[in-house]
């Protein structure tokens, strides 16, 4: 009897498989040209996104490159060491400091550069003249397009000991103008201010659009109820753009440990390294300068997982408290 049941079960599975494969075969036949068109794209993602993801396995090995071997051979032939690299960076003093720097820089940046575009959008929204609005918007978007190298060049120049910003500051504090980029205490303010300068205009676009979408009747009924502009802003405007603000905030907070290396690489030097070194620059230095490939990949893998967890948690919180989420 068991044999009978097994026989009917296998026959059912075979039917399902053959039906599925019929559907697939029909689909491939019908969409052959479409699949052909997308082949290069799939190849791209496989080679440049998924092979590196598979490559993170070297964080569990002592990856060594032998001459004449292919990448795959190097991976397969290197010695497996399990969590050795993960443990070693947990115990590394520099790593703890780097972790703390990342969080500090990121948090302070979010603290100041998140509200700025919103306030700018609110202020622009209050302007009556369309031309004035347009001109302000055009000008404030401009810094976003200037390359990071140029911006850091500007920063270096303006904060050097003969630079305009150093001179202005020394007039306030009454001291000699100094090279501000060599000062540990100045690094984060310089970083955050230049970040605000570069992003305030561009990031305000989405809020300006949200503000433009607010139903004007709400304002009218609020003013009929006796609310002045300030109260209208608090009770009508802010709640209406809250969804936009929330989703932008969860994106930002989800990325709190994800400070990019480019700007810091361009701005830091040995004197400011104790405050400026972040996880991504640590990974860059250990990986591509010191060539500790396995160690660097281990830190990178850890960082990826932590970032994803943060994003996931931020997303869940947003889902629970409002109905907005990324997925």
């Amino acid at each position: 009897m068991l044999v009978g049941i097994a026989a009917t079960a296998t026959k059912k599975i075979e039917n399902v498989i053959s039906e599925k494969s019929k559907i697939i075969r029909k689909d491939i036949k019908k969409n052959k040209s479409i699949y052909l068109l997308v082949l290069p794209i799939i190849a791209f993602y496989f080679i440049f996104c998924y092979i590196p993801i598979i490559g993170t396995v070297i964080s569990f090995e002592d990856f060594t490159m032998k001459l004449g071997n292919t990448y795959l051979q190097n991976i397969l032939e290197s010695q497996w060491v399990g969590f050795k690299h993960f443990i070693s960076f947990f115990n590394n003093i520099n790593f703890k400091r780097v972790f703390f720097n990342t969080f500090k820089i990121s948090f302070i940046t979010i603290l100041f550069s998140f509200p700025a575009p919103i306030i700018l959008a609110l202020l622009i929204n209050e302007i009556r003249s369309i031309t004035f609005k347009r001109v302000v918007q055009t000008i404030t978007y401009l810094p976003h397009f200037i390359s990071l190298v140029v911006i850091c060049g500007l920063i270096k120049s303006f904060t050097s000991d003969t630079g305009i910003i150093s001179m202005l500051i020394s007039q306030f504090t009454g001291g000699m103008p100094m090279n501000l980029l060599n000062d540990k205490n100045c690094f984060i303010p310089i970083y955050v201010f230049s970040e605000i300068w570069q992003t305030i205009g561009w990031n305000s676009i989405i809020y300006i659009a949200a503000l433009a979408g607010v139903n004007q009747e709400l304002y009218e009924s609020a003013s009929i109820d006796g609310a002045n502009r300030i109260r209208q802003t608090i009770h009508v405007t802010i709640p209406e753009i809250m969804p936009t603000i929330t989703i932008m905030l969860i994106l930002k907070l989800g990325n709190v440990l994800n400070v990019g290396y480019e700007k810091i690489l361009l701005l830091y030097n040995p004197l400011t390294k104790p405050v400026a070194d972040v996880i991504s620059t640590f990974i860059y230095e250990k990986g591509l300068i010191d060539r500790s490939y396995s160690f660097s990949t281990a830190v990178g893998l850890f960082n990826s997982v932590v970032n994803f967890t943060f994003l996931f948690i931020a997303n869940q919180i947003s889902k629970k408290t409002s109905e907005i989420s990324l997925w």
């Binding site: 699949y35 791209f44 092979i51 401009l142 397009f145 200037i146 989405i206 591509l288």
Partner: protein, 293 residues
Amino acid sequence: MILKRTMGEKIFGVIDALFLIILSLCCLYPMIYVLFASLSDSNLLMSHSGIIYKPIGFSLQAYSKVFSNKMIFTGYKNTLFILVFGLAINMIFTTLGAYFLSRRDVYFRKIITFFIVLTMYFSGGLVPTYLTVRSVGLYNTLWAVIIPTAINTYNMIILRTGFYSIPPSLEEAATIDGASTLTILIRILIPLIKPTLAVIALYYAVGNWNSWFYASIYLQDRIKYPLQLILREILISNDTTTMTTSAGAADVEEIGKTIKYATIIISTLPVLFCYPFLQRYFVNGVMIGAVKE
């Protein structure tokens, strides 16, 4: 909406406008300062401190020094190469990919979409990507800057949204008339989503023009350096030795400053020039990107 403005609101309006004017000046002034300083005499600039309203002691010396530096020209040449070929590859790949992702009746679409979107949240990291690019044989070629960044998934999703907005009946009519997939794509769909294509083309173009990091890790020969990398040498690493060999040692620091400013102007001028005309497209892109499907 006609609301009567009280005196308080009028005052607020004035303060608001003033604040925005100041902010705009702050955004604009650094570039203006750089422009004026690059046209100034280097010694006079050194002795003058603070805000400048016009070039101090008009002089084109900085520019002549910059133009005599061969590396600026090779940098421009390389960046143009990356821009043109990179943009072509970006657009072809992104369009094909977005087209595929928008076909509703393709069996494997959902799972391929999942894996593609997943790459926005997970990546191999710096070292594995570096090792992969090296093992593919792209090291020390300009293609290493172009190919690994061929597709920006976010841009592709924006384009997919554009494809979604085209009614299927158009394609059906074309298929009945015997058009092949490629014909439909090229002759019907692409002309219809030209605005969206323009937007992501601009995003890619700006990205290609400003990119420097991948060039710094994959390129070994200085002759292959794109403009931003040459800039980094001049502006960040303070390497103006190639341009100041004829001057005395005491002049090096001062000349350096005006040369730096002149280099910034020369390399940013294309962007600054095109920007006002193209700004509208960029803003549209943010809107399309914000309205997810």
